[in-house]
Amino acid sequence: MDIRTTGGPATAEEMAAVDGLLGEPQPADHRVVHGGRAMRSQRHLLLPVLHAIQDRAGWVSRGALEYACRRLSIPPAEAYGVVTFYARFAPQERGPVALHVCDDIACMLAGAKVVEGAHGAPCLGLCDRAPATLTERFGEAYEAVQTPAREAARQPGSRLLRRVGVVDPDSIDSYLQHGGFAALKLAREMGPAAVIDEVTRSKLLGRGGAAFPTGRKWQSVADAPVRPHYLVCNADESEPGTFKDRVLMENDPFALVEGMAIAAFATGCEKGYVYVRDEYPLARRRVGEAIAQARERGYVDFEVEVRRGAGAYICGEETALFNSIEGKRGEPRNKPPFPVEAGLFGKPTLPNNVETLVNVLDIVNGEFADTRLFCVSGQVLHSGVYEVAMGTPLRALIDLAGGLLPGRTMRAVLLGGAAGSFITPDQLDVPLSFDGTRAIGATLGSGAVMVFDDTADMRQVLLRIARFFRDESCGQCVPCRVGTARQEEILERMLQSPNGDGRADVMLLSDIAQAMRDASICGLGQTAANAIASGLTQLKVLNG
């Protein structure tokens, strides 16, 4: 590709960061150059290279970007589009430290304030310790630190969480001592078809939010004639109020690796990726090390790479995630084609959520109990991840988390995160199952359960949700790009002047909501009005 670069040179430090990842550049050959397709196929390394540059320099300068582009054969304008898509990448110079303060719902309720010089951030997935921050220190020894730090508590009687706080997440031996890799061994004895049968028979539904039958997905990938097959573990847990996958990855990373090994074995995946959101540095490190250890011991016999997100909620959408791995903007693709036929790099792909993959171990071991992880946060006594059987009433789950703070009364529960909807106090007996929630027009979604008591300013909560979608819309399709902006504007106007023409604005919001739901490309736009609509109609936020 004839790439024109017109900016200045990269600094030695920036070049070292790129070369550190890609290796030293070959000296120019004046007689023979192999380029073309082989060169362009390196596009997928763009995000790792951008991270390398920014971790080292703190930002992505034009010189650095162009150097990366020349090395990877990517046009700079496209790469710039990628840099500016992801919230974490900074195309402007800044200091050696970046402080990200979560100002999303749970942390807002806990009194979070974005101090001067800090960056406000959408949910960091640390709702169990709100208010939370993430601090990045750039330089040769880059580090990212989540605060407050807290070790996970043991959960007696749990299944999916049974090793959390029990095993040493850095040690494969510790995992083996707790029954690790038994399921993989069994799976290899059973053979791929039998494994898929078991998964299908278990009726496991995907735990990422869409609740698609996992067995069916596995079968489709296994049957796909095109090669290679890819396994993609979606660990881009970004739904506000959701942090269960982080808890699993940080505390039981080998279980995820084992789940992936079984999935790859059963569906014939030659290569796997774990896409971990940038806000989870500890999870990323532990999963990476677990993969390395498991490979060394022969438990992982296919190629697996940990990929790091860069601050984009939309990349939790599977096709946006594929684009992100491919080094592109995280714009969702139109479906069909579905990932099982044409996913990552256009090949058959099995995208599974972390919790889904961990469930597979019990299925293979014959111990599947169809439990579900819920992330309880907000105004409860003990925020955290709780594992309950499907169908457990919401009220019981909240009780498990210690219930409300003393002296408070329940105002609402946001079920399923920003893409979910509000539940009123009189609906607390709803059984936590896909059917049970559907019956009251709600959704389990990603398992986020955010509790609000009578002290919560629900207007601010609704506005925060509206801002969240405006910030996180990828901008590709009109209904979502402009709709989320108009939604926020109208809501703000309604909340600021309760004497305005409220009814007309409610109509407008409802018109926008319907178009977003009907005509948006992906689930983000299709659900961006849910919580707000339910807040206005169910909770009557305007009227109170």
């Binding site: 004839d2 790439i3 023979v32 150059v33 380029g35 082989a38």
Partner: protein, 544 residues
Amino acid sequence: MFGAGGGTSSYREAEETDLIVLWGSNARETHPIFFHHVLRGVRNGARLIAVDPRRTSSAEWADVWLGIDVGSDIALANAMARVIIYEGLADTNFIAHATTGYEDFARCVEAYTLERAEAETGVPASAIREVALAFGQAPKGMICWTLGITEHHNATDNVLALINLGLLTGKVGRYGCGLNPLRGQNNVQGGGDMGAIPTRLPGFQDLEIPQIHEKFSRAWGGADFPHQKGWHLSEMFEAMERGELRSLYIVGENPARSEADQGRAVRLLSGLDQLVVQDIFLTHTAELADVVLPAAAGWAESEGTVTNSERRVQRVRRALEPPAGARDDVDIICDLAARLGSDFGRPTAEQVWDECRSLSPMHAGMAYRRLEELAGIQWPCPDESHPGTQFLHARLWKDPVEGPLAPFHAVEHDPPVDRLTEEFPIRLTTGRRLDSFNTGVQTNEYTSPLRRGEALVISPEDGARLGIEDGECVRASSRRGSVDVHVRFDHSMRPGLAFMTLHFPDQVATNVLTIDATDPKSGTAEFKASAIRIDRIPASVPSI
């Protein structure tokens, strides 16, 4: 090519072939819209191979680029042929069925071992072998070339060497295969087709065949005109030198700037008894003329047809009124004929075309009406029900072959005439840039943001060796003369190679340096290979 002077394929075929060789062509800049078709082919999976001394913007798209020494094309082609024969990749059935002269050819290429080819071309033997195998193994493939092949003292042999490769592998006469010279001006193809070649009459019909001569003579009212071929351009200048050619009528050419060894060209033109120039501009050539006939611009101020590189005859139309005094070429010629005592009448462009169609079988079916309906027609088009011909020489695959067999031509490597010596150690090659055209008469009238003026482009290594700075004004000298020119460093150049264009003759008279060593058959001069030296200009000499 084997009796038909045109590219054998359609552009569309480049999109659906397996392998494209761009040989001595920087189509990315000189034929940008043809390159779109090439890129579509590349996106569809075709391999692209570029053979060019410079790593041009076209070459940057290639899977393999071979940076050969200027003028070593035959050595490369013959060595490739030898590999193809030795590897059993020659299409022996096709050779036996449709060609002649294979034995002589095979004997000739036997001497072109990879070792010898490496020595002659400068390209490693392994890369030559790789490209030969790729070409030999591709089910479909095409070779496209431009002036990198034809602006040599042995231009015809160069072309024949490429044709040999096509014949050897049966890559002609089939869809997606072919041998395609990309024409440099909008009607180079049409000019030749219309008989603006010393040996031809309209319809590429051989002047020296009596029946053809008689056909035209009869159609033209028994007119008597020469029975033997005339001079081509270089022969005309030789005839001027000898004093045989004393009077010259030039239509739409600017030899005072476009000829190699410009000093000689101007001297000879100035020494004529009579020079008539018909042009849309008062060019430098026109300034030397005794009579200037201002003409309307063919493409925008008059009616007619032109023929492109895929043999497509298309209409040009009058969109503008010509400036006062400028007249249509047809009108001028008819008036001139009247003054010379021959009444051509006052034909319209369409009437002239219909007369041409009545005499040229390959254009017979191309009524104006059909040219409009079909958006151009590719010759041959023998009658008004014929759709035109997508690719030539399908006849070679018929059984038996229709028409003459296709001949191999044993051709030998013959290095450029202007030898590199200690005194003139640098190989200067000339070419064109994207935003300019030939001597710049037309393109210098619009403001291109890309334009940076003329420069002597060299490798940074040569710059360092010669102790010159990027941008410095230097003196470039050949055995014929010197020009002062600013240098520009470019990483696409290798040490020992320099590049200039002829776009800005008033600023830098590049053709002062070039050699008029001419191919005896085609009459083209060796613009692509001069030997020069580069000297720093002493500080006392003011820089231009």
